[in-house]
Structure formats: structure tokens, C-alpha cells
Amino acid sequence: MAHLSQDLAVIADMVLPGTRVLDVGCGDGALLEHLARTKNVDGRGVELSQAGVNACVARGLSVVQGDADSDLADYPTGAFDYVILGQTIQATRYPRTVLQQMVRIGRHGIVSLPNFAHWRMRTSLLGRGRMPVTRALPNAWYDTPNIHMCSVRDFSELAQELKLTIDRVVSLRGGKPHAVKPFSISANLFAEQAIFLLRGA
């Protein structure tokens, strides 16, 4: 089995065994397969790319070709224990709506995102005056799928505004997970990525 990326490993850690999970933007299905094998999770996926859907279907996973912006409305309320948006929210057109759909469909939501306020980003923008290109965000500004970048603090504020409960935040710093507070100044400076465990009102 493919090795899980670090943010997916943190997400997998947040999911309780024997639950129902919808992975939105599930890629090649690595997380869903991992959850099915190690936690007896009943998983479903949504994926935009044909290659991703094919990989998932060949793994025996149930994945619907579609996108977070338009297709989440089709899912029944409360159908899943967890709805996961792994490195997906920043690529959606309407992140607010997607988050609202997430907590409607799932009892919990898990969101992982790249932190645009990481110090490397800040120095790149400040020092070089260029849009940052980093390990976490390797694309040039003109061909990135990430159209709604935010910082850990930005996301925490949006969650608050949408009246979502933030149950846990884990930052990835130098590839290592740390439990942090949503509005921690140091997390906003040093987290390369952040993973939020959320609940609706």
C-alpha cells in the first residue's frame, strides 16, 4: 500500500474506527483505502480527475466523479460521520458554501490546508516580491489549482464566523504534527500545513 502523506496520516488519526466517511477530493483513494483497512471505515469519495476516479474504482472504492462546489448539495443531511476535505478547500470556488455543506452532510468535518502565512511565504513575498513557490505549494501563480489561499488564522476566523466548533487543530511543522490553538500566533507563522477537526452548530 502507498505510504500516506503526512497530512493524510494526521487526518486518518482523527477518524474513529467503524465510521462512515466521505472524502471530498479523494485523489487516488490512498486515504480511503487506508481507513477501510486499518479502521474498518465505510468510505465514499468524490474526485474531479478521471485518473483519480479510475485509480479508486480499480481499488474497489466507491467514488463519484464530481466536484465539491456543485455536487455536495446532492448528499443527504447527516449521511456521514466525517466529511474530509484534504488539501481541497483552497481549490474550491465557494469555500464558505463547501464548508457549510461539509458540516451538513457529516457530523464532523476534517479540513487540511496549506498555511499561506508560513514564514517562508512571508519572506518570499516581502523579500523577493514574488508569489511564493514552496514544497507545499509548488505551482506558479498562473497554473495553480489553489484559487482561495488562506492562513491558519484566516481559516479559524471563517470557522468562527460560520459558527463551527473547532475541536482540534494540528499543525505540520518540519513534517511533524503538533497540537496547536486555532488563533496561535506561532502556529500561523510556523505551520506549513494545518488540519482542523470541526463540527457544525
Binding site: 478521471q50 479510475n54 474504482v57 481499488r59 474497489g60 466507491s62 466523479q65 464530481g66 446532492d74 443527504p76
Partner: protein, 390 residues
């Protein structure tokens, strides 16, 4: 449907062509309440049923196709309509799976239909043949499987009307279906689709040689009407882009307009050919009955108006597929099926293939489709413990 164009020419799989006869006063009770006293189901199989009887795949054919899926059609001499998909080393690998396809009830390729003899009168049924439904087709398929000693289908698959049968299988015999692939289909026939069918039926009935459906006794065939029905329907199986790409405004065997009503344009000549060749292999009354069966199909209506209700007991893995340029059974219809399956918490996958070839794409060489379907079937078979080849 148009026959699939054979891109590759490998040896076709060995076909076993057979018939199953069901007799008795009520061989098949139909959804209409009428009964067929005698029923013959003509079918073809490829590959071998394994000892566990766990590798059976039922292929359901579309409106104008038949049971000759992967071997030469005895009437036309052309390759089977899905020989790109079924055969050794293909998506439905005949070395691993036991493939069955039966001609539908009401058909004209060996299964009991309107051109056959009504045992009560000794004459052809004609219009005295009872109206049949997609449910009746599936019931007859289930009887055939019972006869063959097959309790469970590893996969039931079909496109268009074949996909309607797949959906019916999922709703009526969920416990017999391990996995299912409804392709380029819908859970109900739309008003537009009923309208197109009505044009076809009216064309047949307007042909004086139809003789009120009694043409067999008069020794004639309503070939003009049936050909027009086919021409109109054939347009709906293609797309504007495909017609433009294939024919454009190119003239047929001439430099200038004839200033008459010959087939000046290639597209006219092509459609006329489609019409003519269809008449040679299809029965006009069968066309009336089978189009009617599709019109009547509305799976949600059979379950209190809620499509999800049709899938309440479904444990099967399902892969729903559509094509971007299919305007006859558009992606939105497939999404309704997916939506209902999600609401029923079923194991559903959905994929939309990008092609400009229209509804008939499922019969054509679409490599992405082969990749998805192959992965789906193979993983279902692995899960069910069906031995891999080699």
C-alpha cells in the same frame, strides 16, 4: 444503436448459442397482467461457469441489438456489438468470466416476440402480442439464470435500454447482484425520448405495408416505415459534433447539387443505408413493443415516487457511467441515479467520459471507459474471490 466499429481484429471468443424453452399455462406472467403461455429465450454465452458459480456476468442489450455480443452476428455477418469489451484479455475477460446475453422478450432474434406463433391461434402474434416492460425482460432473464443454475451475478451490465435492465435488476433482485454497471441510461424515459419513439412508431404504422400489424399474414414488410424509424432514432444516438466531423456538408458521389431529392449529402446517404440495413435484421412490430417498454420505464414510480426507495436493500457495488456528448441519456440522468444510490447509502461510483460521439459512445473505442470498467469488474471479482487468469 450502430454496431461497434471493430478497431482490433483478434480471434473472437468461442460462443455457445442456445435457447431455453419455458412452457406451461403461465410460463411468464407479465407486468400488464397478461401471460405468455410459452416462452423461448435465445441466448449466447462465452467462457465457462466456474465450480463456485461465482463468475457469471449478464450483459443486457440495447433496443436494436441482440444476444450476439462478441461473436459474429448470424444475420448480418458482422462482429458482435460489444466485441471491444468482451473477449479474451478484454474488460469482460472470457477466460475469467462466464458471459451471458439473452435476446429480450418481445425481440426478434429468437426470444419470443410478436413475429412468433401464438399457440392459441396458430398464427403470428402481431399486435395480439401482450405489451411488455423492462421488468418483464428482467423476469425472463432471471428465469434463464435459474434454468442455468446461476443464483448470483458477479456483474450485470448494459448500456441504454440495457442499463434500464441493470437498474431493474438492482431493484428487483438486489440479493442476486454482486456488482452492477448501468451505462448511458436513465431511471425513467424522458418526455423527449418518448417523443422520439413515438415518431418511430408512427412512421412504421403509417407504412401501408404494416397492415395494422398483420404484415406477416399478407406476406409483406413495412420496410419503408421501419427504415424511417431507424433513421430518426439513429440521429439521436450520435451528436452534432460527430455528424459534422464525419460528414459535414460533403456531397455523395457528385460535385454539384442534383436540384432534386436524391441523397445529395453524405449524411443522407449514410442515414438511408442505416435504415435499409436495419430492416434486414429487425422486425417492425418488435420495434413497436420494445420502444414501448422503454417508454413505460419509471423505476421511481414503482417505488412510491422516490428513486432511492428502489435501492433500499442493495448491497451491490455499482458503477454508473455517462458520456459528455450523450444528449439522449444525458449525464444529469445518471446523476439522478447516483443521487438516489447515495441517499440509499449504496456503494456507488460514477464516472463521466469525455467524448464527442454521443449516446453510442458506449459501443465505441473509448480507452478511458475500458480502464474504468476493467478496474471496476476486476476489483469486484477479486473481492468475490474469482480466480485471476494465469
Amino acid at each position: 444503436m450502430s454496431e461497434a466499429v471493430a478497431v482490433l481484429a483478434p480471434a473472437p471468443p468461442l460462443a455457445n448459442v442456445a435457447e431455453a424453452r419455458f412452457a406451461g399455462p403461465r410460463a411468464l406472467t407479465l407486468d400488464s397482467g397478461q401471460v405468455l403461455p410459452e416462452l423461448t429465450v435465445a441466448y449466447t454465452t462465452y467462457g465457462e461457469l466456474n465450480a463456485a458459480r461465482s463468475n457469471a456476468v449478464l450483459v443486457c442489450h440495447a433496443l436494436s441489438l441482440d444476444q450476439h455480443v462478441a461473436s459474429d452476428n448470424p444475420v448480418t455477418g458482422r462482429p458482435g456489438w460489444w466485441d471491444l469489451m468482451v473477449g479474451p484479455g478484454k474488460v469482460f475477460d472470457t477466460r475469467r468470466f462466464f458471459i451471458i446475453c439473452a435476446n429480450v422478450v418481445g425481440g426478434c432474434m429468437g426470444t419470443t416476440g410478436p413475429k412468433d406463433i401464438n399457440p392459441a391461434t396458430g398464427q403470428s402474434y402481431g399486435l395480439s402480442f401482450p405489451v411488455i416492460t423492462i421488468g418483464d425482460m428482467v423476469k425472463a432473464e432471471a428465469m434463464l439464470l435459474d434454468r442455468l443454475g446461476i443464483a448470483e451475478l458477479l456483474c450485470v451490465v448494459g448500456g441504454s435500454m440495457g442499463g434500464m435492465q441493470v437498474l431493474e435488476w438492482m431493484a428487483t433482485y438486489p440479493e442476486r447482484v454482486v456488482s452492477a454497471m448501468p451505462i448511458a441510461t436513465a431511471a425513467k424515459h424522458s418526455a423527449q425520448n418518448i417523443a422520439f419513439h413515438e415518431v418511430g412508431r408512427q412512421a412504421i404504422m403509417a407504412d401501408p405495408d404494416w397492415c395494422g400489424g398483420d404484415y406477416q399474414r399478407h406476406g409483406v414488410v413495412p420496410s419503408k416505415g421501419l427504415a424511417v424509424a431507424r433513421m430518426a432514432a439513429h440521429i439521436t444516438y450520435l451528436s452534432e459534433a460527430a455528424l459534422q466531423r464525419k460528414f459535414g456538408r460533403t456531397l455523395q458521389d457528385r460535385q454539384h447539387f442534383s436540384y432534386a431529392f436524391d441523397a445529395d449529402f453524405q449524411v443522407e446517404s449514410y442515414l438511408r443505408h442505416q435504415g435499409r440495413s436495419f430492416v434486414e435484421r429487425f422486425d417492425a412490430n418488435s420495434y413497436l413493443y420494445i420502444t414501448r417498454a422503454m417508454d413505460y420505464f419509471d423505476l421511481a414510480a414503482d417505488h412510491g415516487g422516490v428513486l432511492a426507495g428502489a435501492f433500499g436493500k442493495l448491497k451491490s457495488r455499482v458503477c454508473v457511467a455517462s458520456f459528455t456528448s450523450d444528449w439522449l441519456f444525458p449525464t444529469a440522468e445518471s446523476k439522478k441515479i447516483v443521487h438516489a444510490l447515495n441517499a440509499a447509502a449504496a456503494n456507488v461510483s460514477f464516472v463521466e467520459f469525455a467524448t464527442d460521439t454521443g449516446h453510442d459512445a458506449f459501443l465505441l473505442d473509448v480507452p478511458e471507459m475500458f480502464a474504468t470498467f476493467g478496474g471496476f469488474v476486476s476489483s469486484a471479482a477479486d473481492h468475490r474471490g474469482v480466480k485471476r487468469v494465469g
